[in-house]
Symmetry: none
Subunit: 293 residues, 2 copies
DNA sequence: AGTTCTCTGGAATTTTTTTTCTATTTTTGA
DNA sequence: TCAAAAATAGAAAAAAAATTCCAGAGAACT
């Protein structure tokens, strides 16, 4: 009986199973086939589930695991579980990597390494955004934008960046757009004129800014719709939002990334422009530099 | 206590949790947050896993499930399990849909498809950013940021978003930071005090904004350094920049992305923070959601 | 401050699941 | 075909996990 590797990947395990397949007794062959075919659900299966699927007795499944050097079925299942939880949270992985890097284990990590790591992290962040993309919510959000008479956008602190982008982009449409920036503390005044048929786009993340909440309340009061972009359905504003889009951002140094939010905001605008058959021409190389004041 | 539906989707369940969230006691809130954030791993989690993650007693997790009408945790977990085993199959469909969309370029692509495509585009944009990463330039840029007495940041129109982010981030250091936003057309005045030992971060893309160029000229005149973030070495400001970082942004549907620039700005800040051994406190995973900041 | 109600956490209990044990069956090879 | 070895199935034991119970802490209300 060979010693089980402390860590072995699912693929390696499947390899070993395939290699040993011919020399297995009938029932264990059956188990082997099941596992090979259903590797993605082994992690949630119970011994009895697999046994049933294979028309085999539970103990056969345990024997199977043991014949590959595991102490029992649970031990083998662990391989599948950890594989899943790791791939389910690529961002977590990345965060640990960068934390280790920064954590000073390697004081010799160069500044450029940190930069590179960060970019990598953002990449896997976008992977997650793509994976958790919610088409229905997205379409609803675009609808709201299209129908709105005037669009108010609010976001404070971290979210201000995204808010200001959205306003910039929306100004390319014929919509009336207002950035609620609280200049001079005048949040209330800036959203004061919101009304029925208007839309408030509120962007807010964990410690959910008070100002944004106030704006949302005012919008609701004036019977305007709300498009909420936030990190969780449990966000304090979620309940009153007309439509909600969630974005998960990784963080480094407690500094949350912004890439996903920005990307989503841009996607919203692009989709809207697509619907409006707006053609945003690429700035031409020779176009004279304009000055607006 | 309402009867659990024979079949309820994960989304519906999350919705119900979100709706009830406010009325939950502290610990159950914590569990709710965990489940909402980790819905994809709930199916493999044990009661004790979740309890541990939430710093909560196992019985709280069971109570949570029961408060939503399930007989216990296992009953609730079933919802997540079945959802998973069902969606395991259609994954291939999605791949095909994407392929069709890309192949077809069809006019009847849905709004959501456009959004998805944009996200995909941003992903490959980041791939390119990673590939063309210039370690030496990056290190030099961080050096400039570290050495600067006061940091002025300027960017107009599209670039304003990135500029405002950078300022927001830099405010978490002890540096003096000024966002040159041209409020009231006062670009000149805002950079008027720049001097030797100071740094101007100029972010500019085609069609290079006149305002940014003016600021750069003033900075040079006052013997300040310049960190230029732009799209090409041939950018009009390139010649006079102390250090230059180039960022290529892809464009989807004729609209330039911003993800790369944002990502680079964030990377700069993170690297700088690393050098400063700045530790910005991480919001704690289980921290109850607060109504204020 | 006192009362009532809810929430919490530890331990006990129950249920479920895994593993071991062993008698029986099947296969293998002379 | 028979003996030896291997494989299997069921039951029983063990382990793990989930659930309940309850006493005490804490909040809310009077």
């Amino acid at each position: 009986m060979d010693t089980p590797m402390p860590t072995i990947s699912v693929d390696e395990l499947i390899q070993r199973i395939a290699a040993a397949y011919d020399s297995l007794p009938r029932q264990l062959k059956s188990v082997a086939t099941y596992i090979e075919q259903h590797r993605s659900s082994v992690m949630v299966d119970r011994v009895s589930d697999i046994a049933a699927h294979c028309n085999v007795h539970a103990s056969a499944v345990v024997r199977f695991a043991q014949s590959f050097g595991f102490s029992g079925f649970s031990d083998m299942q662990e391989v599948f579980r950890t594989a899943y939880t790791q791939q389910a949270a690529p961002t977590q992985n990345y965060q640990q990597r960068i934390r280790n890097l920064i954590g000073g284990k390697s004081k010799n990590a160069s500044v450029a390494d940190v930069g590179r790591e960060f970019i990598d992290g953002s990449r896997s962040g976008l992977d997650e955004l793509a994976a958790s993309f919610d088409p229905a919510g997205f379409e609803a959000a675009v609808e709201l934008l299209l129908k709105a008479k005037t669009i108010y956008v609010v976001g404070v602190r971290r979210s201000f960046t995204s808010a200001s982008y959205l306003v910039y982009a929306l100004q390319h449409t014929t919509k009336h757009v207002v950035l609620v920036n609280g200049l001079g503390g005048m949040y209330r005044d800036q959203v004061g004129n919101i009304g029925k048929g208007d839309l408030l786009v509120a962007i807010t993340f964990l410690p959910y800014g008070r100002e944004t909440q106030v704006c949302a309340r005012i919008a609701r009061h004036h019977h305007a719709s709300t498009l909420l972009i936030t990190d969780s359905q449990l966000s304090p504003l979620a309940r009153h939002a007309t439509t909600l889009l969630t974005v998960k951002e990784g963080s480094v140094f407690g500094f949350r990334s912004l890439t996903n939010t920005m990307c989503l905001c841009q996607a919203l605008f692009i989709a809207m422009a697509y619907k409006l058959e707006l053609s945003i021409e690429e700035p031409k190389p020779n176009r004279p530099i304009e000055e607006h004041d």
